[in-house]
Symmetry: C2
Subunit: 393 residues, 2 copies
Amino acid sequence: MGPGPVNAHPRVLRAMSADLLGQFDPEMTAYMNQVMALYRPIFGTRNAWTFLVDGTARAGIEAALVSLVAPGDTVLVVNFGRFGLLLTEILERIGASVETVDAPWGEVVPPEAIAAAIARCSPSLVATVHGDTSTTMAQPLDGVGASCHAAGALLYVDATATVGGMEIAADRWDADVVTAGLQKCLGGPSGSAPITISDVAAERIFARRHVERGIRRDDIADGAAARIGSNYFDLAMVMDYWSDKRLNHHTEATTMLYGARECARVVLGEGLTACFARHAAAGRAMTAGLRAMGLIVFGDDAHRMTNVTGVHIPDGVDGESVRGRMRDDFEIEIGTAFGPLAGRIWRLGAMGYNARKHKVLLTLGALEAVLRAEGFRTPAGAGVDAALAAWAA
Amino acid sequence: MGPGPVNAHPRVLRAMSADLLGQFDPEMTAYMNQVMALYRPIFGTRNAWTFLVDGTARAGIEAALVSLVAPGDTVLVVNFGRFGLLLTEILERIGASVETVDAPWGEVVPPEAIAAAIARCSPSLVATVHGDTSTTMAQPLDGVGASCHAAGALLYVDATATVGGMEIAADRWDADVVTAGLQKCLGGPSGSAPITISDVAAERIFARRHVERGIRRDDIADGAAARIGSNYFDLAMVMDYWSDKRLNHHTEATTMLYGARECARVVLGEGLTACFARHAAAGRAMTAGLRAMGLIVFGDDAHRMTNVTGVHIPDGVDGESVRGRMRDDFEIEIGTAFGPLAGRIWRLGAMGYNARKHKVLLTLGALEAVLRAEGFRTPAGAGVDAALAAWAA
């Protein structure tokens, strides 16, 4: 019950025990096409270019940024937590000129502040996280794509921590590239990064296409713009592999593709609306339960992610001792925190297969017993009762 | 029965259906430590730094090169096939000054030619593939590390296609970094890249350490040398995650780690010597069988990989039609070829779980029937009989 990775859905685990297929086997390429179709509704898009990057969620981020940004390009990062810092870090290594528009940890950046920052620095790309688990905040994104496009910038969104748990609306946000991961609300393992790319962004990427020498073909021409700084993360070549061209790049991570496919089938089988409602109920129940126990929930109520809740460690309580007892006595993992919040808050997730009523209730009951053992006074049973009421609300 | 990916070992598939663990759970970190120990004998090394890169084999290559090489460094590539071209390609994107020492496709580079090339260009790194599946050749590497070190260079080896099938002797070769993949002779899926790093190479990498802002800690100091050009592939940070420091970098790809661990347990359970002998028997049987069928085996006999065999497509036979019948009538995949060999040879693999007597015999029997159907005259039963005799030899 931490901020991810979480327990995987049993159907996803079973899907990953299927035997492998050759990478150009018609059954395999049919699975690839299915994955493209399955992830479009999950990203809220009609983008043709919707596929997987072979690596963890962070690989998806780096693939997007290194393929969109050339050294010297100006990029504006919307920075409200650890993963905003990660975006700046990756962009600096790419050689971008990075500007930021910031919010304190626990708040989000007002869309008008983003628009003002765009006007100030004229970036070619605006990069933001949707939900930053380090602060439990979800950045509002309606209208942000329009602000970008009006100024000639593209919009990149990292939706790793929200995909499958909160609405991802790539098309309505006018986001050009959105990347994700399986290990949060999609209920799968880390190791595959779904991505969606608008036609405009695809055009920018293909302008940088530079097919490697060993596999050049007459029907695939190089682009005129600067070569992408990475081979593995060269989305132009990866897209040529996922297209009818079936250009050989790296060998697709077959088992992870099976897992990603089943994650999507599970979520779409439940229905996205039902899935978001279940995560919202879990977040509501967790928050109500923690408050009824006399704890103080962290961050701005209006922009809280539904699937992870930060809570202040009470004065006089040893946060790591509580986490140790939760794990050793109850086999429940809850999250620590990073940077300015390290030692100040715990983070309790309710994501994917773990966003279930009984898991939230059992976690709160366990936390109550552990806090009592650590000397913190909390009314017996109050957390669970409040959570049960809030789930139904 | 292509050059990989191949069918996975059933134990590996089952291991990947285990539920996930939190990335700092003591059970998870114990598994990580086990993986480090399991891959040392597989790489033929006592290197402390032996772990996994989260991505396909190509991710391991790029992680090694981008962490070892800074823009402007001179690197010598030993180039005898498609994957030598891949090394130059990745290095050019890193901004290295790339020199090559070449052999025609189907041959290897004499070690004395490598030594002469080192003397000519004074590289800081020599990079080579061990077995290049595009040509089926295995580069001899004894003494190459010594030539490198005498000139102040490090040696990098890509052993993706040979690991688990032919001896990898990182310590005897004096190789500083060796990377691999699971999808060939280790009998697992693509998506995890085992790597081993000598202390000298680790020192060069840690000199470039630059911990990202969101997770800096007082006990981990940055190095003085140029920052590594990628975040995801920053081996200094990945090594800090795999060490007792347990620095949070990307979320470990848990399911792939389970798979990599089980691949190693299967191979070490059989015994490396037995495993190499089985691959050698399979290669011997395949070669003898193809020759008995009247086909001409491709490349230099003295340096052939044991686990993949190239064979000329006979005049008047349509190579793709044969591959189609093999797949449609017998559910057996054999490989096509790249670059100058495209349309000229097929590549038949016998790797990992597929390097078994019955699979080689069944493949040859099927190929005989298909060639007959395509109008090629071959003595009935000769291929299978010769393979059976060669297996036992």
